[in-house]
């Protein structure tokens, strides 16, 4: 293996407290993603009431 170990084995972040620059924007985006999924789930619920039992 010749490539940098960081490329091969994941980003090494030395400071666990280090967080990305866009925290507030990411929180907004995450909330938006969750809300969109919840809307979708409600919209498709009558056709498919899938849950953990969906494996069967």
């Amino acid at each position: 293996m010749v490539a940098d170990i960081q490329i091969l084995q994941g980003k090494i972040i030395d400071d666990p407290e280090q967080r990305t620059k866009n925290i507030s924007r990411l929180i907004e985006e995450l909330a938006l993603e969750i809300l969109t999924e919840e809307e979708l789930a409600i919209a498709i619920a009558p056709q498919s009431n899938k849950s953990a039992e969906g494996a069967a």
Binding site: M1, V2, A3, D4, I5, Q6, I7, L8, Q9, G10, K11, I12, I13, D14, D15, P16, E17, Q18, R19, T20, K21, N22, I23, R25, L26, I27, E28, E29, L30, A31, E33, I34, L35, E37, E38, E39, A41, I42, K50, S51, A52, E53, G54, A55, A56
Partner: protein, 588 residues
């Protein structure tokens, strides 16, 4: 780097798995984690998942915590307060996870519907080492590690390769653990990962109809949602010809319910639409076979070591190929047909492998089909049997063709590509002579391998040239380090290097146009280039050089495979005949 690769004492680490995908992804993640937990028993594992798919994970006793994605919807606008405002809820939820201080975080969510949500979550939670996809500062999705880039480049682009998805995620995490946590537990013996008792189960989990079944039968479960057109006739044939067999019908769809009614018989248990997860795992643990097409139940059966007859369906909307997400483990059957799999082929395969204990391979599959009067059906299908390869062969699951095989160039490249990935990411090199010796050569294969050799030589030169340009650019950029300001001459010079690199890529594209089977190499280059992480031109040029190094390694491996394959095709000199061995003609 070399110091980091030295064996080190194992550290006790904590791992957070972000898995927001469907049940199929959950089950494959659990398969990978079980193998890893066996090698690193001290590893503490937590999950982030969606509430709808959390139930199976909560039934695994070696998972420490399961965090469900929060519910943000309120019933009405009037209920919105500062405490249940969506942003506050998300921020508090993230804070709660952050307080756990995870050492490793791996994002294994690949479902298109939830990939972005998982990538954002991955970016928000700090960890010492992160693997998988995340959201970059420009809000696009990037990958932290090479296996994730590989997945993006090859698996999502329908490039045929022979590494199962479960093996990819297992190797990805295992290699990271070896580097960051030390070598695996030396006392960890080889053990089966899958088990009929994988999930915690309660004795109350038995469905009453299943409890009252005849207990002296061998049971085959049929997933009617995915095996509709063949099921009625198959069940009828089994009931008529195999008095020791019973059938249990599973599924949820309305069509499955309608079909199940047609199969009413004393040896058929119909549980379509009326079974929950605990009952399902209990039931499957009592079955010999599951017959199904693509469904999470296949991944569940693999996890529970239940043999699967897997009917390949053409699912264009689905991104993975059956070789990447089909049944995992030993002795599963896969039936692939150009059209749909017919009942004769299914019955022939099921009876052949169901009676292996009896014939022990003394009867060939062709003979078995002939005995059943179904020889013509065998010609319409491709039949595969799964096997876990030994570590000497590269490990992981593979699907070996049972029905007669004509070894194509595509099959040759398929194998070589898989070995290229193993060489790149695991530092593992195959025994090429042994592999090549098993290939049945044919004129078409030789012709195509000869053709690819020429393209490979061009790619070798281009990789070398790309490496040289990257090095020159790195040296130049180091000299002109001046933050945001640089002279026009320097800017122009750097632009020239950039253009040269683009020319190299354009030339690689032309090679791929001539030999499309080499597209994987170009895709890999492009994926790596879109994931450059350096913050300066010099750093990015250095990374580019490393990418060309990897390309050279891959191209060299294809070249060696090609040379050795062609050497087998060369005519061998026949031992010289000496005069002494020639019997002189009698003068009479």
């Amino acid at each position: 780097m070399s110091a980091a690769l030295e064996p080190t004492p194992r550290k006790k680490l904590s791992l957070l798995v972000v898995q927001l995908g469907g049940l199929d992804e959950i089950f494959r993640s659990l398969m990978a984690l079980k193998a890893i937990k066996h090698l690193y028993p001290e590893l503490s594992i937590s999950f982030i998942t969606r509430a709808e798919t959390a139930a199976p994970i909560k039934k695994v006793d070696w998972i420490s915590h399961v965090f469900d994605i929060p519910t943000l919807r309120t019933k009405s606008e009037s209920e919105i307060t500062s405490a249940n405002d969506p942003l506050t809820k998300v921020a508090s939820w993230i804070d709660q996870i952050i307080t756990q201080h995870y050492d490793l975080l791996v994002n294994w969510t690949y479902s298109k519907d939830f990939a972005r949500m998982a990538a954002i979550t991955t970016s928000l939670i700090p960890a010492y080492v992160k693997l998988g996809d995340y959201i970059r500062d420009d809000m696009n999705i990037g990958s932290y590690d090479a296996w994730s880039m590989y997945r993006q480049a090859w698996l999502q682009d329908s490039i045929e390769q022979d590494i199962h998805h479960t093996d990819i995620i297992t190797t990805q995490l295992l290699t990271a653990l070896q580097i960051h946590a030390g070598d695996p537990d030396p006392d960890a013996s080889a053990t089966a990962v899958s088990s009929r008792y994988f999930f915690k189960n309660s004795t109350m989990a038995i469905h009453p109809e299943w409890a009252s079944r005849p207990h002296n039968l061998k049971w085959t479960a049929i997933h009617l949602d995915t095996v509709q057109e063949n099921a009625v006739e198959f069940v009828d044939r089994v009931l008529r010809r195999h008095p020791d067999q019973g059938i249990v019908l599973l599924g949820e769809s309305a069509q499955a319910k309608d079909q199940a009614v047609l199969m009413k018989a004393p040896r058929v248990v119909n549980l379509v639409g009326q079974i929950h997860f605990d009952q399902l795992t209990h039931l499957l643990s009592q079955c010999h076979w599951l017959i199904s097409s693509k469904s999470p139940i296949v991944d569940l059966a693999s996890l529970m070591n239940i043999r699967v007859v897997y009917l390949v369906q053409d699912l264009p909307h689905y991104s993975l190929k059956w070789t990447e997400d089909g049944p995992y483990g030993n002795s599963h059957l896969v039936i692939q047909a150009d059209d749909s799999v017919n009942v004769d082929a299914l019955y022939g395969a099921w009876t052949y492998f169901g009676s292996e204990w009896f014939h022990k391979g003394s009867v060939s599959v062709e003979k078995h089909f002939e005995n059943l009067g179904l020889s013509a059906q065998l010609e319409k299908i491709q039949l595969f049997k799964s096997r876990i390869r030994t570590s000497q062969e590269g490990g992981g699951v593979c699907f070996e063709k049972v029905s007669p095989q004509y070894f194509t160039f595509e099959a040759w490249m398929y194998r070589v590509r898989g070995q290229m990935a193993r060489a790149w990411f695991c530092g593992w090199l195959p025994n090429i002579e042994a592999e090549i010796s098993r290939i049945q050569l044919n004129p078409e294969l030789i012709k195509r391998v000869r053709g690819v050799s020429e393209s490979i030589q061009v790619l070798e030169k281009l990789s070398h040239e790309g490496k040289g340009i990257s090095k020159e650019l790195e040296v130049y950029a180091e000299k002109v380090r001046a933050g945001y300001l640089m002279s026009i001459e320097d800017r122009d010079a750097i632009e020239v290097f950039g253009k040269k690199l683009m020319e190299v890529e354009a030339l690689m594209s032309r090679v791929v146009q001539v030999e499309p089977e080499l597209r994987a190499i170009l895709k890999w280059y492009q994926q790596m280039m879109s994931n450059l992480q350096g913050e300066s031109i010099a750093a990015m040029a250095k990374e580019t050089g490393s990418i060309f190094d990897l390309l050279s390694e891959g191209v060299e491996l294809v070249s060696v495979y090609a040379r050795k394959t062609l050497s087998l095709a060369k005519p061998k000199a026949v031992a010289e005949t000496t005069e002494a061995t020639i019997t002189p003609l009698s003068p009479n």
